[in-house]
Point group: C2
Chain length 112, copies 2
């Protein structure tokens, strides 16, 4: 199994916010300016731009400044890392869940 660094931290943390997941969802339908991204949210432009910044730092979003407009798009395939981590751990998880049922049976009786 590959050894993962704390690069994942940023990606997972970025995905932990519903606003940011909504931004990714929106960008999945095409690139957008910061203002366009902000439009559906009840939030200041500055506030939303911070979310974009977080996503960019996590390399989930890439942006290009064109004139006075910053165009935002889905970025490098950072989700791959995230997904790979989950896949690696899902197998052991599933294996363990089976035994977990047994464990419960064994210990339940002893519980106070």
């Amino acid at each position: 199994m590959v050894q993962y660094q704390s690069e994942l931290d940023g990606a997972f943390a970025a995905l932990a916010d519903p606003t940011r997941r909504a931004i990714l969802q929106r960008l999945g339908r095409g690139s957008a300016s910061v203002s366009e991204l902000a439009e559906p949210f009840e939030m200041s432009l500055t506030g939303l731009k911070k979310h974009v910044q977080v996503l960019e730092d996590a390399e989930l979003v890439t942006t290009v400044k064109v004139g006075r407009v910053r165009r935002c798009s889905l970025g490098p395939q950072k989700l791959d890392d995230v997904q790979r981590w989950i896949e690696d751990h899902r197998q052991t998880l599933e294996d363990r869940l089976d035994r977990f049922a047994e464990l419960l049976d064994r210990t339940q009786g002893q519980e106070k």
Copy 2:
């Protein structure tokens, strides 16, 4: 596409911490007590227990108290939700990445 709630928040946030991912990794090799989990970390028992609590709240870990020992195991398949979200979004991500290259070509020339 399924509509995901903010249930994901807790799961993603829980996974954003390397200590907690290490705990999950450890539990993948079998259940453990809180003390056993704490052993490899340079952290107080109380501190580590908080991480366990976060994982339990996120439904990534389940615990049972047996006597004075709390036995921790990998919990319900919450990772499924996380993985499903990523899979749903990966397709649009990949589609978009192709067009992103074009976008870059188009806009790069105009950049200051």
